[in-house]
């Protein structure tokens, strides 16, 4: 009974309520509350690191529905990461969100999201997990909705996608609970077969959708435009990756014993590979800073899924490492995007350019993060990708190829982005641009430093944070820290990165600007048509799904109308028809009345005669 486990949930929750409770006119209150709450939370979770704690409260008392929380190595690592991001982004928002509307709501959502995320990570009972995870829907919805005037559509899109996948997750969790007879996550150990397979698929859908993988991704690019930028850095880039991949790892490692080479593993890896490729291809052609980043947020989750999906220790470690790395560099990238937006007022790449000199620190943070995401050694992204490559290659060359190709396009698109935004000629309107405020710079610098730290000194995260997640038996004595084991992979990576650089120079040379550096791919024969359609959202699974739902509802509408027709028309007209016909038999003549009476009598007499002897 370690009720201290409740505090990481309660502190941000109450903080959020306080933010809302205080009148708008009190200045600095919401900001200080936010910082205080996230700070306390960070301190709290750090102090709890690597302890084993358990909290239990008989919630409903039946149906295994108990409120149990469990802190152990893996979850403490995730809550620390979440707490750190929350704190940094809270800090960043102080400046970024200034003079914006709905500030109180923004901070409340920020704190609540943290509380819910903590709850979801700490949960040791599936329903507690679902409770917190699904409640995140509301905060995300609110977050996006307050972004701009037209953001409600995106908010709804996000809500629908996540809501539907959460229902899948719920059903999967119920099946898992049914199969194992308990909802306590630490006691569930199932195999992926039969009904368990269904449960796995459903839960996996929930997890990867949380992570933002294809085909549940399409709200993220829209949200990048509509939602407030700290939201992007906070939720899709950091929290949801943490939660989604955490969940996926829990599913694959604890709840189900995923076997390497099994169909479930292949499925996961396929999803991962496809996500990597398709999303990065889309990222490549984006002309908007935030939108481009958002596609990368999707693409990178493919690596994690691919890594975890291999079901090999190296892959899993790589995937998890990539998760934390991605949370870092992607939020850093979004933060630089936010700084650019704040200072220049736009994120449209065609209106940017050359601001690197005006905003050197931002540019520097960008370079580090971009190198990290492209997998340039010795930054953290490089090491995690190498681990994933290793796992992928062991599982199948095709997955490896996809991953490497993804890496190529990632590098290419970031070269384009950096070139278009920070280098080149500065436009007239951006002449007066200045560096962002220190409150915004600190988080970027901290995170960028983190990227370098986790790269150069990668044994810190790997040995202390990630490796203990796997049991000793699973690890089988392997070590993953330090320089990658296979130098062949490193060579290939370097070749690919150099290739990307060459490609960039070729593109700039032929098209004449950084913005158009990848136009030769964009407008390549065959690709152009696909791209055009993709930009028009022909391939948006959300739209396709809605259309399908529309057809289905038309059918059911028809059924409904048909049933109604029976009551409204058929029953009524049969009755009226019968009534009219019956009346026509009696025209009101004496004769007809008499004849009917006579006929009746005859029938009765006949009947009596027939039954006479019977």
């Amino acid at each position: 009974m370690d009720s201290i486990l409740l505090w990481p949930i309660l502190v941000p929750l109450l903080g959020g309520l306080l933010v809302l409770a205080v009148p708008r006119s009190v200045r600095f209150w919401k900001e200080s509350i936010t910082l205080l709450a996230t700070g306390v939370n960070l301190w709290l979770v750090c102090s709890l690191f690597d302890k084993n704690l358990y909290y239990f409260w008989s919630w409903l008392g039946f149906g295994n529905i108990e409120f149990s929380l469990r802190l152990y190595h893996f979850s403490s690592f995730i809550v620390i990461a979440a707490g750190a991001f929350a704190f940094l982004i809270g800090l960043y928002s102080l400046s970024f969100m200034k003079y914006r509307n709905y500030l109180r709501q923004f901070y409340a959502y920020l704190l609540w999201s943290l509380a819910l995320a903590n709850g979801a990570v700490l949960a040791d009972n599936l329903i507690v997990l679902l409770f917190f995870l699904e409640a995140l829907l509301i905060t995300s919805f609110g977050f996006i909705a307050i972004g701009s005037k037209d953001s409600m559509k995106t908010a709804i899109k996000a809500f629908i996608i996540m809501g539907i996948t959460d229902i899948c997750l719920m059903t999967g969790a119920i099946i898992a609970g049914y199969l194992s007879g308990t909802l306590t996550m630490s006691n569930i150990h199932l195999t992926v077969s039969g009904l368990g397979g269904l449960a796995f698929i459903l839960m996996m859908i929930g997890a990867i959708a949380k992570g933002g993988s294809m085909p549940f991704h399409s709200w993220i690019p829209d949200a990048a435009i509509d939602a407030p930028l700290p939201f992007m850095a906070y939720i899709p880039a950091a929290l949801e990756k943490l939660l989604g991949i955490y969940l996926l790892a829990r599913i694959c490692l604890d709840l189900f014993q995923l076997q390497a080479g099994s169909w479930a593993s292949i499925t996961l890896m396929t999803i991962g590979a496809i996500t990597i490729l398709l999303a990065v291809m889309m990222a490549l052609i984006q002309k908007d800073y935030k939108r481009l980043l958002s596609y990368h947020a999707i693409s990178q989750v493919g690596y994690m899924i691919l890594g975890v999906g291999t079901a090999l220790p190296v892959g899993i470690i790589g995937g998890l490492f990539h998760m934390i790395n991605h949370a870092m560099y992607k939020s850093c990238l979004f933060l630089t995007g936010g700084a650019v937006e704040k200072q220049t007022g736009t994120t449209d790449l065609s209106r940017l350019g050359g601001i690197g000199r005006k905003m050197p620190i931002t540019f520097g943070a960008f370079i580090i993060a971009a190198m990290a995401i492209s997998g340039v050694p010795p930054l953290n992204g490089f090491f995690s990708k190498e681990l994933v490559y290793d796992g992928a290659l062991k599982s199948g060359a095709i997955f490896y190829l996809a991953a490497v190709a993804g890496s190529f396009f990632t590098a290419a698109s970031f070269l384009k982005l950096g070139h278009a935004a920070f280098l080149g000629k500065i436009s007239e309107e951006n002449k007066q641009v200045r560096e962002a405020s220190p409150v915004m710079l600190i988080p970027m610098i901290v995170i960028a430093a983190g990227c370098i730290l986790f790269g150069v000194y990668n044994s810190l995260p790997l040995q202390h944070l990630i490796q203990p997640i796997l049991s000793v038996k699973q690890l089988a004595g392997e070590r993953f820290a330090g320089w990658p084991a296979s130098s062949m992979l490193v060579v290939v990576t370097c070749v690919v990165l150099i290739g990307a650089l060459i490609n960039h120079y070729y593109g700039v040379k032929s098209e004449g600007s950084g913005l158009k550096a990848v136009d030769h791919i964009h407008y390549a024969p065959g690709l152009k048509g696909i791209y055009d359609r993709a930009e028009k959202r022909y391939f948006d699974p959300y739209d396709i799904g809605l259309k399908l739902a529309g057809y289905l509802s038309q059918i059911t509408w028809g059924i409904d109308k048909a049933v109604d027709w029976i009551y409204e028309t058929a029953a009524v007209s049969v009755s009226f028809f019968a009534g009219r016909k019956a009346r026509e038999l009696y025209k009101g003549y004496y004769a007809s009345s008499l004849s009917w009476a006579l006929l009746g009598f005859l029938v009765i007499a006949l009947y009596l005669m027939v039954t006479l002897n019977g």
Binding site: Y589, A591, S592, L598, L602, M609
Partner: protein, 165 residues
Amino acid sequence: MLGHLNLLLLIILLVSALWTVLTRSLIRSAIGLALTSAVLAVIIFRLGSPLAAVCELSVCAGLIPVLFVSTISLTHPRTQAEKLEHRRGRLKRFIFLPFVALGLGLFLSLMKLPLNIPSPLAQRVYDVREVIWNMRSLDLIGQVIIFLAGVFGVVILLKEIKSHE
């Protein structure tokens, strides 16, 4: 021979009844009714119930036609148009009737119904006065009320017709 007489009487009864119904003149219809009742009285008499026969003769053949004729005398004759209207299609509705009657007769004769039953009534013979005054006094009162009602009806309806004139 006597059986043939009964048959003859029945045929006369049928013919006069049909004439009563089918004729277009109300007066003739009333006369037909009287005739029918008279024939019926004869039949009843022949079946051995003289009292009933007398009643039938006095009431149905005497009183009622008189009432009818006196009522009819208050009406005005039909116009030509009304006659035409009345004539049209008047009998068509009954075309099926002979066939039904014929078919029914055939059917019944084929059924060979066991209609002859021993009559317990034959063993008891009551005096008519005894029957009327001692055994069926309530019926008698009932008859009186029927007459009362009938008189009311005639009074009300005749007054009605008079007030129309």
